[in-house]
Structures are given as C-alpha cells and as structure tokens.
C-alpha cells in the first residue's frame, strides 16, 4: 500500500470524540469495558467484577456498599474516504490530482490498518460509482485491489451529486470521513454535502494544484477548456492575470474555510504533494 521500496508513509489521525464501536481498538470509546481509562465507580451488584474493587470508594460509602471501578474501553473507529472522481480531478499540473488521490488513499488505508481501524471508500462522480464502493473493512487485499482499479480510472464525468448521495452508504454510526475533492463546485453544493455528512466527523481534503493558480504558464494565449462542462474561454496569460488568479483562489479558500468551519470541520489543503508530517500536525491541532 505504500510505494514500492519507499519509506513507510503514514499519518496518525485522531478524533476529539468517543467512538461507540463495540470492537476494541485505538480510539477512545464511550463503552465500558476492558480499558485503562477510569470512567466511574459502580456498585458491585451492577458490575459484578470483583477484580476491580474500588476500596477507597467502598470504605467511604456510608451504606457499606461495595463499589467497583469501571473503565472505558478503547474502540475502533470506522474511517471512510469519499472520493471525488469527476473530470476536474483529472487535472494535471505540478502533479496529477488523480495520482495524488490514489497515493492519499493508499497512505490512509495503510494508516488505518496500522491503527487497526476498518477503512472503506466511496468513489463518486455525478452519482455513486458502484465499482468504487468499498465498505469499511480491515482486509488490506481488498482495499489494495480497489485502489489499484482506481488508479486506472480516467475521470471524465461531471457533477458532485454523487458525493452527497454517498452519505447513506456510510451507515448510521459516527465515523471519520475524509471528503477528498478539489471542491470545484458551488458553495451551495458544498453546504448540502456537509449537511449530508452531518452525522459524521468530516475532514475535507481540498486537493489543489499550485499550477492552477500560483504557477500558471507565465505568458501566452490559452484556449482553456473546463474539464467538466467543456466550456471554452480564451485567456491571455500574463503576470497581472496570475495575480488576479491567486487572489481568486485565496478568496475561494477563505470562502471554503468559512463554510467548513461553520459546521465545525477544519479543512486540509492538499497542495501538490502529500506531507505526512503536515497531516500529523493538522490532526494534533484539530
């Protein structure tokens, strides 16, 4: 799942809430069980586990009742990636967005398996692509296969409705959901998308390319075709336009950040390359 021969690339995600998953895992859970995180002392009759007798509490009890300590067990956290496979994700600038996407999925799948969490992903265009629906699993082989198929896929379709339609596929249990897209659609759609995933902990991964705005071709006449709508426009590239393009992207960034933060999701802007350290920092700060 990592690049062959390359260094092991993984990052550590964490969530600020307690999972309710029954299976023991890495993340804090609100379920009582075999953990080491003290939760509460309960009467022995309710939790008949004399091994964890809370002597101090029992001694202080005026009615002489025996208490046992209960602990929260750590549980697994289902991790999902909802992946935008529309044509705009086929953009090739400094890097190929699709390659970046595949790489990110590999790293994420590896990180999830290292953490012991089930990982699944849903590929979407204007609709959910059934061949790219992988339910949360800890089977590395199945994930690898699906991710390999993804790297052969050529993004061609337009639309973002699939991202919204993917929400019911993730189940009712609260999960960590990476929404990986360039978010090159209207803020209204973004808003609806976030609403659809309101149950989950969403990490928007905004995949942008510095060639899109910071390092466009310096000078020239470009007939620019929109990758999704196919609309064409002539653009006279020049430094002045580059500045306005950067400004346009900066405004877009601010608008996206605002709409994400309104629903409490801090976005991560993935620019040109995947920096696992930056991702770790992102999750620590989150």
């Amino acid at each position: 799942m990592t690049a062959q021969g390359a260094e092991v690339r993984e990052f550590h995600y964490r969530v600020g809430w307690r999972t309710r998953h029954a299976l023991p895992g890495h993340h804090k859970s609100s379920l009582t069980g075999a953990g080491h995180e003290y939760a509460i002392s309960a009467p022995l009759l309710d939790y008949p586990d004399p091994r964890r007798l809370d002597i101090r509490r029992s001694v202080r009890d005026p009615f002489g009742q025996l208490f046992v300590r209960t602990y929260n067990q750590h549980g697994i956290l289902p991790v999902y990636a909802v992946v935008d496979l529309t044509a705009s994700m086929g953009f090739q600038g400094t890097a190929s967005k699709q390659a970046l996407l595949v790489e990110f999925l590999s790293i994420l799948a590896f990180s999830a398996s290292r953490t012991g969490d089930p990982f699944g992903f849903v590929g979407c265009t204007g609709e959910v692509l059934p061949q790219f629906v992988v339910p949360a699993t800890r089977s590395g082989a199945a994930l690898r296969k699906a991710i390999d198929r993804l790297s052969d896929y050529t993004p061609a379709v337009c639309g973002a409705q699939g991202l919204i339609e993917a929400a019911p596929l993730l189940g009712y249990r609260r999960s960590l959901v990476f929404v990986i897209s360039d978010f090159h659609f209207s803020l209204d759609v973004t808003h609806r998308l976030l609403n659809a995933f309101a149950r989950h902990d969403v990490v928007p991964i905004v995949v942008w390319d510095s060639a899109e705005f910071r390092n466009p071709p310096t000078f020239g006449i470009a007939r620019v075709r929109d990758s999704e709508t196919g609309a064409e426009r002539y653009v006279l590239l020049r430094p002045a336009l580059r500045n306005r393009l950067c400004e346009s992207f900066e405004q877009r960034r601010i608008a996206l950040e605002r709409i994400f933060m309104e629903s409490g999701h801090k976005p991560y802007f993935l620019l040109d390359r995947i920096d696992c350290d930056a991702l770790n920092r992102f999750f620590i700060e989150r």
Binding site: Q92, P217, A222, R223, V224, D226, T229, E232, Y234, S248
Partner: protein, 344 residues
Amino acid sequence: MVAVAVPPVPGGGARGAVNLYVEHPWLLALLLLALLPFLHSGSAPATYSWLDLIPRDGLSRALGLALRVIGAIAIASLVVALSGLYRGGQTMERIAEGAQIVIVLDRSRSMNDTFAGHTPRVRGEENKAQAASRLLLDFINRRPNNVYGMVEFSSAPIYVLPLTNKIEAVQAAIKPAAQEGLGLTNIASPLGMALGLYEGREYEGSRVILLVSDGAAKIDDQVGGWLRDTFHEYNVRLYWIYIRSEGSPGIVPKPGQIEVFGGVPEQQLHRYFQGLGIPYTAYVADDPAALGRAVADMDELERWPLRTVEVLPREKISGYCYALSLAMILLLVVAKLFEVRAWR
C-alpha cells in the same frame, strides 16, 4: 487635363461606385467556411479544472473574439480571392481643355530619305521620318492638353490611335514612326479615315487634322468632293506640315516658275486644300520657326472644355485579398507561437 476624376457617367457602361465581380461565383458558397472559427477553434485546448475560478478578463475576451474574427477574415478573404474578385471595367469621364487633333503621318518609302533626297549615308544623318517623328514629339510635348488621334498612311491608311488624351499613348504611337516606311503616298484615304475619327462625336472643341507628309498625291474630283463635304460637316481645320525635300518645287510655285506638265502634286494639293473653304494653313518643316508658328496658331484656337470618356480596365482585387488573408494568417501564426497547449 485641367480637371479629372469626375464621377462615372450614369448609363454609359458605368455601374455606380461599387462594381465588383467574381470569376467563379459558385466558389463564394465556401464563404460559409468563414463561420468555422466561431464554431470550432483549431487551437488545442488546455484543460483547466474549473473555469469559474479564472477571473473574467476583458482583454482575454477581446483576444478570443479577435482571434475568431481574424480566422474568419482569413478564410473569407481567401475564398473571395480564389473566386477571382475583380473590379469591372469602368468608364470615367474626364474633362480636358483643348483641341481634338488627328495627326495624319506619312509613312511612305520616301520618308526614309534625307532632306537631300538620298538614303542616309553617314551614321546619325537624319531622314525625314525621324525628323517628322521628332517634330511631332516636340509638338505634343508643347501641347499636352489636347486630345490626339493618329492615322498613318503610305499606300493605304493605317489606323493607329483613336482620339485620346493619354499623352503616353500618343508619344508611343509617334516614336515608332521614325522607323522605315514603305509604299507610296496616298493622301485622300487617310484624310477620310482621320475625318472618320470625329464621326459620332459631339463638337467639343476645335477639330484639327495635322497632316505631316513629304509628298503629295493628286486627289481625284469624286473623292475630293466627298472630303470637302466631310470637312465642312465635321467643321475641321487642316494644318499641313510639309517636309520639303531638296529640289522639291515647294507647295507654292515660285514666281515665274514654269508649270510642269500635269502639275506638281504638292502644289495641286495645296491649291485643293486652299479651295476647301475651311481654315487651312501649311507649314514648311525645314523652317525651324514653322513649328513654333504651328504651336502658336494652335494656342489661338477656341478652347472648349472637352469631355472625354476614359475606359478603365478591369482590375484584379484577388491579390489584395490574398495579401489580407496572408496578413491574417500571419497574425494567427504569431498567436499560435504564443499558444499554451497544456496548463502546467
């Protein structure tokens, strides 16, 4: 010419200000191809993720439109050029002021001789034809405002130039007259042809026949009568520049000279011209002042504004269309050089 460039005459062959024609009209159907740049641009598009993020730019939009328009112009002008656009022949009325002069020039063999009456022996010795040509060129250069026609003759008249105000054409007609002539002298029929040049023309200024010859021939009574009538009908003046050879008795008999049998033809012709009842003057060319007098006499002639209709030849415009197309295509090539094929 005093005034030129009068609008074309209505009717008379002129078709208004724009008279453009094409040789192959069916090719114009290809003009529809000029729409192609608006339907599809030939340049390779650079794919971009989301156009909405590229700021609207007036300059870019103008450039895009300009490129399409340039492409359309290039195709259209190419098609028009291929179809063979030309401006049809136009008639243009010009107004000149001066006389209508028909030069009747003797090209008989005797004009090859020198004034002394023998063929030139020394290089540079001028024969009569050269002298006549030189005299006439001199005359024309002094009087460029007239309308000239030209008839040459030896045994038979040769139609050279209709009445025209194009001085270059007249000069070009006179220059070769210095070459060798052949044949005999026959005066009556060239005069008839010269008179014929006035036929059907309005009287728009003094009409002059300028006869240049070194000899003469007798004009018989029947032709002479017809000539007389025609001279009167067309109201034509006659000037005769007589190039006298050495030993010629001249056109005026010297006092006491004995009349030869049958008469001297020059003298008879002179008498005949005098008897025509029209304004007639004879000049003898070996007198250098004679030409000056002839020119001065012309100046005294009545000068009416002379309307002449000039026929302009049809003019090919295809070349300009090709040039326009080339210029447009070059612009497109320059644009192509600056083309961004991939956005990276």
